[in-house]
């Protein structure tokens, strides 16, 4: 099992750092889109729409990185299997986090967790012995993730938390209890 390891000692140059930041946003974009498809397939349109929105936000971040770097398309990314310490990108929500009866609040909780992991990742890079340009960019990214986390917390205030027994299904797929 490979754990997320933001503190892995690895030096970056600026372009490599931005490529990794782009890969993080892209992986999160794709994962939220996959989650939206899963929720659509399981007739949970409200959460599906929320995941679509989250996917769209991450896609905007990815696009902005491309713009900042003057890249027209996917740059020469680091090998996708070579995240520091393995695992997935820090902003990628895990597949196992879903439930077919989940509610918007759950989706926002998940998104908040991902934003905070990304914040920790970028802060970790800024603390390393990296070039000044990388440090500045990492701090910018961390500030952005902090802002996103605040926005999601605010969003959660406007969504009812799930009531007890939210996962009880009167017609469950599971009949062996």
């Amino acid at each position: 099992m490979s754990a997320r390891s933001p503190a892995a000692a690895q030096a970056y140059d600026y372009a490599e750092f931005m490529a990794r930041a782009y890969a993080i946003e892209l992986e999160a974009t794709e994962r939220y889109a996959q989650f939206a498809e899963q929720m659509e397939a399981h007739n949970n349109p409200e959460v599906a729409a929320l995941f679509r929105k989250l996917s769209g936000f991450e896609a905007l971040h990815a696009k902005r990185i491309l713009g900042e770097m003057g890249w027209v398309d996917m740059p020469a990314l680091p090998p996708p299997l070579a995240w520091e310490g393995g695992g997935e990108g820090p902003e990628t929500a895990p597949f196992e986090a879903l439930h077919y009866l989940m509610q918007p609040y759950h989706a926002l909780e998940l998104a908040l967790r991902c934003e905070l992991q990304a914040l920790e990742y970028f802060e970790g890079i800024a603390k390393r012995d990296v070039p000044a340009q990388v440090k500045a960019a990492a701090l910018d990214m961390a500030a952005e993730e902090r802002l996103h986390a605040a926005l999601i917390r605010d969003w959660m205030q406007r969504v009812p938390p799930p009531a007890e027994g939210w996962d009880e299904d009167p017609d469950p797929p599971r009949m062996n209890e």
Binding site: F35, A41, P80, P94, E96, M102, R174, N176, E177
Partner: protein
Amino acid sequence: MNAPLTAAALAAKDFKSDYKPVWCPGCGDYSVLSAITKALATLGLRPENVAVISGIGCSSRIPAYTTCYGFHGVHGRALPAATGLKAARPDLTVLVASGDGDGYSIGGNHFLHACRRNVDLTYIVMDNHVYGMTKGQPSPTTEPDWSSKLAPGGTGLREFHPLVIALASGANYIARGFSGDPNGCAALIAEAVRHPGFSFVEILSPCVTFRPEQREWKQAVRPSPVAPTDDPARAARRLMTDDGFNLGVLYKGSRPPFAGEPAAPTHAVQDLEKGFEL
């Protein structure tokens, strides 16, 4: 294995079809699909040079979700179909997808002989210790004391140990992954494809519907504390004492793969088609 092409490299999404998976949200098989597509992209393969063969079960839906050639075959019979395909078309990279019921029970005998034959296949088994598609019956890897309405008090039967069986039967590469780590699984699958002969990758893939307690596997799994070995005796000792949660490559053998020459075709395709003419 096919040599990587010089054409533009494909991304994982290029190996995903337009069909949307219908597994339960939270199912580990989503992650395995992601791992397979990432591995194929990493290997620089192209969908037209890869075939994904499966049997029956939740995990066996995978061929339809890829853009590779696929064959969703008969319950437990994915390996014979894949063996035939690889023998006839050694130029193809052939992956086989299965689950613990399909692969170890209905297809148990084929598993033994596929290991023994050592044809250059990559066999990916998504193990969730239950028959999910048919509503939660115990499978060969179900713990003897797992109690459910369908097996009150548990089966009381000793579990099947697929990695030990694979080693004893002659598999040339044995690894275990966990669906909670899709990139780790992708690396194991990519290495399995590169390794010649019969490669067996068991992936612990929780069934969140019938075995929701398997969400806790995330806390149980760990990287294998020892490096892979090419010594079957040493591997046997490790696997026999393994608790089922050590991840990574556990055995890499050097047995040459079976590479029989495909027989010359006895019929032209056009001649076969004539038999179906009305």
